[in-house]
Each structure stands twice: as C-alpha cells, then as structure tokens.
C-alpha cells in the first residue's frame, strides 16, 4: 500500500474506476447538449433568430442581465469590503444571508420578492406611498431586481475572496507616501482587485443571463419588458414551437460557453499564485 512514487511523476495512471466515473459524469453533463444540437434546425437557424420576438427577448435579456450585474457590482463591492475587512458580531449570519440565493430555488426567491416588493408587500407599499412607484411587478426594473437577487452573491464571494488575498501592507505603504483613503482605494486597492472584480462581475452577469424562476415568479412574463430569453424559450416550448425554443437555446448556450471559456483561469481553475503581476508585461 505504501506508494512512494513522487508527485512529479508525469504519467501516473489513474485507477480505471475513476476514469469510468469521470467519463460517465461528462456524459451526463454533455449528452443533453448533444441531443439539443442534433435537433437544431441549422438551415433555418438564422431566420429563426432574426424573428422579432426572439430579438426582443434577446434585447430584454441583455438589458436586464447587464443592469443586474451593474447593481451587483455597485452594491456588492461595499458589501464585500465590509465582510472582508470589518469584524463585527453577526458577520457569519450576514454572510449566510447574502449567499442564500445561491442555494435557494429561484422560485422561492421570486415569491419572497413578491411579498416584500409587491403592491401589498412590506417595502412595496412604502415605495408606493413615498416615491409613487406604482408597482415593480411586470416592469423591467422588477426583472432587474429579480436577476440581481440571484446573481449578486456570485459577485460578493468573488470580490471578498480577492480582498482577503490582497496584501494590506501595500495599502499602508501607499498611505505613508501621502495617499488618503480614497486615493488608496482608487489607485491601489481597486487596480489590484481588478481581476477578481472582473471575474465576479462576469459571473454575476452570466447568472443573471440564465435567470428564470425568480423573474417569472416576481416580474412576470411580459414581452418587451420582462420576457428574457429563458422565459421566451419556455414559452415557445410550451406553445408547441420546439424549433424556436431550440434556436434560442443554442444562442444562450453559445453566449454562456464564451463567458465560461473567458473565465477559465479566474474562477474555474484559479491559479494559485497572486493575480498576474508577473512577467506578462515587457518593458516598453
């Protein structure tokens, strides 16, 4: 049983059982996609994607997901900073609440949002009384809120991890050189954090792009306002138009794959060393 082979050994054969299990796992994940691609009407794909309803859903998806990502960054960055840098009672609880949407079924989130922000909801009534906001339900703003609800945690955990890895001595050094808090934040903290922020923002955008449950439950399914690509796909599928559903699905898969491939170093297989400060740049 004593295996003394060094970890450097290049061709260590994995046990057969592990290989088989891994291949089955890939099959489970990939086969549905293969099935979809095999049924894809490639010849008419162009025209299908050019249809008004599809383009409209794509537009809503892009607007909603980008706005949700922006909300995640603007609100999530201060939150990540608080979680990473401050010690306070109940921090573990706050973090758990913040990350809850990652594990919660989105439909639960949608229902929760409905009871909080709906016309008779806790905050919804206040919004109406104080700001004259009639209702968020059925509006693009509502869809953005639903998408931000499920996607912000992805940004927060990525940014918090980045902040924790940051060498705070660099910030101290900047302050001894005469940099005030804002200058330190702007010229040292944020630039050093940039790779984490980019990864977190992209992840939360990707999550928002695929959002379905919370959106349809809270914001509803209104063409041009809240009907994003995932909602349009479900709609087409239920309405007996599988080819339209497939075409839009292929579009969504393509976009998502591009994002994940772009992120492969940042999140999926993060490098162990500090984010690129190394030999990538050459003297000018």
């Amino acid at each position: 049983m004593t295996d003394r082979s060094s970890p450097k050994e290049p061709n260590r054969r994995p046990p057969i059982a592990v290989l088989v299990a891994a291949i089955i796992a890939v099959a489970v994940l990939a086969l549905p996609l293969v099935g979809l691609l095999q049924r894809t009407p490639w010849s008419t794909l162009g025209t299908r994607l050019g249809e008004t309803a599809t383009l409209e859903a794509l537009r809503v998806s892009v607007v909603v997901s980008l706005l949700a990502a922006a909300v995640s960054v603007v609100l999530g960055l201060p939150l990540a900073w608080v979680l990473a840098r401050l010690t306070f009672r109940g921090r573990a609880l706050v973090r758990a609440v913040v990350l809850l949407p990652m594990v919660l079924p989105p439909v639960v989130g949608g229902i929760a949002l409905f009871f909080a922000l709906g016309r008779k909801g806790l905050v919804g009534r206040a919004l109406q009384d104080w700001f004259g906001v009639d209702t968020l339900i059925g509006t693009t703003a509502g869809a953005v809120i639903a998408a931000a609800f499920v996607s912000m945690p992805f940004f927060v955990i990525t940014a918090e991890a980045g902040l924790r890895q940051l060498d705070t001595r660099l910030e101290s050094a900047a302050s001894t050189l005469g940099a005030g808090r804002w200058t330190v934040l702007r010229r040292i903290t944020l630039p050093l954090l940039a790779p984490s922020l980019a990864a977190g923002a992209t992840l939360s955008w990707a999550r928002a792009l695929g959002e379905f449950g919370a959106t349809i439950t809270f914001a509803g399914n209104h063409p041009g306002r809240t009907r994003t690509l995932p909602l349009a796909i479900a709609q087409a599928n239920e309405a007996g138009q599988p080819e339209a559903a497939i075409a839009m699905s292929v579009l969504l898969i393509g976009v998502s794959l591009l994002i994940l491939i772009g992120l492969r170093h940042r999140w999926i297989a993060p490098r162990t060393s500090q984010p690129d400060t190394s030999s990538e740049t050459s003297p000018s």
Partner: protein, 346 residues
C-alpha cells in the same frame, strides 16, 4: 524637522516603550537584535500603529497624542517610510511607483514623472523606469523603494533596513545619497559601518525598550549590553588611500594590504591592536605612540580607548594592564598588522 517622541505602542501582544529626541536634519540609527521592536517603533512614528500612550511631536506640532485625542493619519504626516519589504506596487511601472508620492502631494503627472526619473537616476536605475517591480532583482527593488520614499521629499524619512540587500558597491553610493538627504532621518540597521558613518545619534533597542542612547562613538566606547558590544566592537577610521598607504586626517599614515585610491574607510577589530611599553620591533606594518584616553574593565577583558593620533580601541587582558602600567593619560605603543585592516571605499 525635529522629532520628540514618547512611544508606547503594541502589535500582536508585543509592546514597545521608547522615548527619544532628534534635531532637525539629524540621522538617528536604531540598532538591536531581531524582534527588539525597531520596526514597530518606526511604524508608530509613521502612524501605521496607534499609540496607546505618549506623544509624537514634529517641529513643535503635536502629530499624535492619545490623551488629547490627536491622531494624524499616515498620509497627513510629513513622514515617508521605506519598509524592508519594499512593498512596490505590482501593477505600476517602476517610474510610476516612484512618482506615486509626488502625485499624492498634488504634483501634475509630468513634473511628478520628472521628479521620479531624477530619483531613479540618483539611485542608478534610470534605465529601469519602464519595468514592472516583478522584473527587478532584490537589490534593485530596494533602491526603487528607497527612491519612492525619498521622492516624497519628506521632512522625516524612516528607513527600515534600506541598504540590507545591496552589494558593497551600490551600498556605498546609496550611503552617500542618504548622507546628503536633508530630511531628518531615522534608520534601522544591522551594519556597524553604516551606523558609524551616517548616524549622529544611536538608539539601542532590546525587548521593546531603548537600553542605550548616545553618539555612535559613545555607545561603541561603552556598550551596555553584550549584543551592542558584539555589533559595535569595530574600529573605524577615515582617510585617503594611495596604493597601500592610507593617510588619516591626523596625519598618521597606515599601511594596508589592499591597494586603493581616494577616500576610504578603514576598519579593524579591537583584538587586532597590540600594546607595549617600548617601541615594538615586530612584523606589524603599523606602529605608533598613543595616549590612553580611558580604561574600562569588562568581565573577562579590558577595553583600552586610545586617543590621538589614531583614535581606536584595543582589547587586552587584565594582567596586561598591570604589566604595562596602563592608566588614563599614560602613553604606550600600539601595533597593528596591515593584514588586519579592511579597507573600503568611503
């Protein structure tokens, strides 16, 4: 800018208690074993660690005083710090690192860059301006870090082992640079030569407290702790070399084994000096008649401080003091082998 400091501070359960004054433009060297609290002391001066008690006064202005509730943040203190870890900003080029301080002081991009380039050439690194910190060697990074702190043109410059990883040649250049800087300097060092050449005042720290203060000569002549003695037990003379001859300022010429030209530092151990009552006829290249300035018995040896014309120390046994009838004001002959002398560029 003068410094008056009384510092009671703590980091990670380790407390320091230290008080010292430094006049405007002076250089104070802090020496002490590792873990003595030297870095904690300069961090407290810089404002990176809050005082628990005490006061920091710069040029008559209270910068920090917990009793009055005054705590000026690091960026508002006229102090720049060069840390032993350099802490260069990895995302900025070398020149932008050095220009960081001037930019924070409100200088526009172009003049800030100009000043940074000036300082880079003063530390001999003008041609590395476009590199990233990750591309520098340890010694280069140290010089960039030093240039970055100096480019702030601070009234007080704190240097935490700023010359530690430099090779002998650049070390001399940088030492000259530090000697020329107008700022009031506080420097942590482990190098006896640096201490003797740069410092007007020496603070010896051990276990979080200052155990001895004085000029380097005073402390070297009467080290209060074994650690201090170990660090400073070295004779240092300055003179002008011409081949293997070094003319001291007193006019005495010493013979060395290393040919050099120009201003030099000559160092040798107190153990290398032998004393006798009559002019010795030995193989030693250097002999002179000396006046005994002071005699100081220590546990197992006697430290004899010689005055003109070659001020230095010699260690002898207690028996030798009796045999040679040494006492303050008496005269004796000193001998020193040329091969015992270390000569380096001043």
């Amino acid at each position: 800018m003068s410094i008056q400091a009384e510092i009671h501070a703590a980091t990670g359960g380790f407390a320091i208690h230290a008080a010292f004054d430094a006049p405007t433009g002076s250089c104070t060297a802090i020496v002490g074993p590792n873990g003595a609290g030297k870095t904690t002391l300069v961090h407290a001066l810089a404002g990176l660690i809050p005082l628990r008690q005490g006061k920091i006064v710069l040029a008559g202005q209270v910068v920090e005083d917990p009793a009055q509730g005054i705590q000026t943040p690091p960026d508002r203190r006229p102090i720049a710090l060069h840390s032993q870890h350099n802490l260069l900003f990895p995302h900025l080029s070398v020149v932008d690192n050095v220009a960081f301080g001037p930019r924070c002081a409100g200088l526009a991009a172009r003049p800030a860059r100009q000043r940074a380039e000036e300082w880079l050439s003063r530390v001999g690194l003008a041609d590395l301006a476009g590199l990233r910190p990750a591309q520098l060697s340890g010694g280069q990074a140290q010089r960039v870090g030093l240039a970055r702190a100096a480019a702030c043109q601070p009234a007080v410059l704190l240097l935490d082992e700023s010359l530690a990883s430099l090779d002998a040649e650049t070390r001399t250049d940088v030492r000259h640079l530090l000697a020329d800087i107008e700022a009031t300097r506080v420097l942590i060092t482990h190098d006896p030569v640096e201490t003797r050449v740069l410092a007007d005042q020496l603070l010896v720290m051990e276990k979080g407290e200052i155990v001895q203060t004085g000029t380097p000569e005073e402390v070297a002549g009467d080290p209060r702790t074994p650690w201090t003695a170990g660090l400073l037990d070295i004779n240092l003379l300055t003179g002008t070399a011409s081949g293997t001859q070094v003319a001291l300022h007193s006019g005495v010429v010493l013979t060395t084994a290393t040919p050099m030209t120009g201003p030099v530092l000559v160092t040798f151990s107190p153990a290398a000096v032998t004393l006798s009552t009559v002019e010795p006829h030995t193989s030693a290249r250097n002999t002179w008649e000396a006046e005994v300035a002071r005699i100081q018995p220590e546990s197992d040896r006697v430290r004899v401080l010689l005055g003109a014309p070659v001020p230095c120390q010699a260690w002898v046994t207690p028996q030798a003091v009796g045999e040679l009838a040494l006492s303050a004001g008496s005269r004796c002959w000193a001998a020193l082998k040329a091969t015992e002398l270390t000569v380096r560029e001043a």
